[in-house]
């Protein structure tokens, strides 16, 4: 790795100042599981690493039944899936946080880093989109919020402007009779990059027999994570049935625009979107009914 400077701001204001001073030559460091590999491999370069792990706002995991869940951008995966409130209220998020990388990687990697790295294959982004998550951003001109589905703009690219830091991600409190799930397909059991991934969330009515609303999002089938607006909306007001789930899966498949590469083909990936959409919807339905 080339020579670089390192700083550990203790407050959000100091972190923003450090990022703004160096502009595009500064990089925020959380777990480093993407950044350090990229700097070492020459895929990114920087003059300053801003280690944000001492900034309290970037480390919080706070839940309340009114405001929902806020996860600091640097909170590592293991803290997320070990948090009792997350486990009880956001099992779909636990799906993602517990399948990223290895146990070693989960000791460092954060959902915020997964979002800022903006890989099309990011395992944590689809479920955040399905849960209606919002990214809280701080910069030299103040703070702003961006819906997670609008955050990524291309492979490795996102809406963060020079000098801005992702502070946290907020997910609304789960509604009654709701559930979510994330699944990916990989040819191995562990430690691989998604050939395709799907995150789904559903809200059912009190009977558990009808959809109130649903959100579906895809990984690894486009230059960015995909929010399947129509596929989710197609379920609103429908009775829970295999036919309704299949219709949503077909709409999700229509939103996939994958490429052929060493991990999979276009045809395989579109097929997988159908399979994984059906499976994640069915798991989300079971969770919404309290059956799992």
């Amino acid at each position: 790795m080339e020579a670089i400077e390192y700083t550990t701001p203790k407050t959000l204001a100091e972190a923003v100042q450090a990022m703004a001073d160096k502009g595009d030559r500064a990089r925020a460091l959380a777990g480093g599981t993407d950044l350090l590999v990229q700097l070492r491999g020459g895929r990114r370069s920087a003059d300053l690493i801003v280690d944000v792990k001492d900034v309290p706002e970037l480390n919080q995991i706070s839940y309340d039944a009114q405001d929902g869940l806020t996860i600091g951008a640097a909170a590592p995966c293991y803290q997320i899936y070990q948090d009792p409130a997350v486990a009880a209220n956001y099992p779909g998020l636990v799906d993602s946080a517990s399948l990223i990388g290895s146990i070693q990687i989960q000791g460092r990697a954060s959902l915020g880093g997964n979002l800022c790295n903006s890989a099309p294959s990011a395992d944590a982004i689809p479920v955040m989109i399905a849960l209606g998550a919002v990214a809280n951003i701080a910069g030299p001109n103040g703070t702003r919020q961006v819906a997670v589905e609008d955050f990524c703009t291309g492979p490795g690219r996102n809406v963060l402007e020079s000098g801005e830091v992702l502070v946290s991600v907020t997910m609304p409190a789960p509604q009654a009779n709701s559930g979510a799930s994330y699944l990916r397909f990989i040819p191995r059991n562990e430690m691989d990059i998604a050939v395709a991934g799907v995150g789904s969330s559903v809200v059912l009515d009190a009977s558990g027999q009808n959809f109130v609303s649903a959100r579906i999002s895809l990984a690894s089938v486009a230059p960015t994570p995909v929010f399947c607006r129509e596929a989710g909306a197609s379920l609103s007001g429908k009775a829970v049935s295999d036919e309704a789930v299949e219709a949503a899966a077909q709409l999700a498949m229509a939103d996939a625009v994958p490429i052929n590469d060493m991990r999979g083909t276009v045809r395989q990936r579109i097929h997988l979107v159908g399979v994984l959409t059906r499976r994640t919807l069915n798991i989300a339905i079971q969770r919404a009914r309290g059956e799992e």
Binding site: Y6, I49, S102, Q104, R108
Partner: protein, 158 residues
């Protein structure tokens, strides 16, 4: 030019000071600055687990930690596993079950296994294989490693 940074940390229970450049990984610092070569370099990008150490209570790949991040932290490496009285039961079980051939991956497996058994003393074979998925071994085919971990678990629980 960025200079060297003075870092104060604790390694295997010993307060330790070192100087390093911010670009240097914890793995580089352990091996090249401190001469602690028990921790091995495999892939140097977080895939193989050969450089696994315990960093503030969690196993991590030390190639993906900067040396400067060790400031104020508690680190355990393979050198901290055995006691003056002898090998740790996990090390003994790896020996007795022939759970190593070339040995490069072994320190990482031992550090990761010890962390698992401390946290989950009743881990079953599925859990063991899942936990160790981040440690690659190109010699053994893993079966002898898993057998050694189960053996160590039995002895630790006896």
């Amino acid at each position: 030019m960025p200079g060297v940074v003075h870092v104060q940390t604790t390694i295997n229970g010993n307060p330790t000071d070192f100087l390093c450049e911010p670009r240097q990984s914890l793995l580089e610092v352990l091996r090249d600055v401190l001469g602690m070569t028990g921790t091995k370099e495999g892939c140097n990008d977080g895939n193989c687990g050969a450089c696994t150490v315990v960093f503030d209570g969690r196993i991590v790949t030390s190639c993906l930690v900067l040396g400067v991040e060790a400031q104020g932290k508690e680190i355990t490496t393979i050198e901290g596993v055995a006691s003056p009285e002898g090998l740790h039961p996990v090390q003994q079980a790896f020996l007795e079950n022939a759970a190593l051939q070339c040995g490069i991956c072994t320190p990482g497996f031992i550090v990761a296994t010890k962390a698992l058994l401390e946290q989950e003393p009743d881990a079953d074979e599925g859990r063991i294989r899942h936990w160790l998925a981040g440690n690659l071994c190109r010699c053994t085919g893993y079966d002898k490693i898993v057998r050694a971990v189960l053996d160590a678990e039995t002895k630790l629980n006896a």
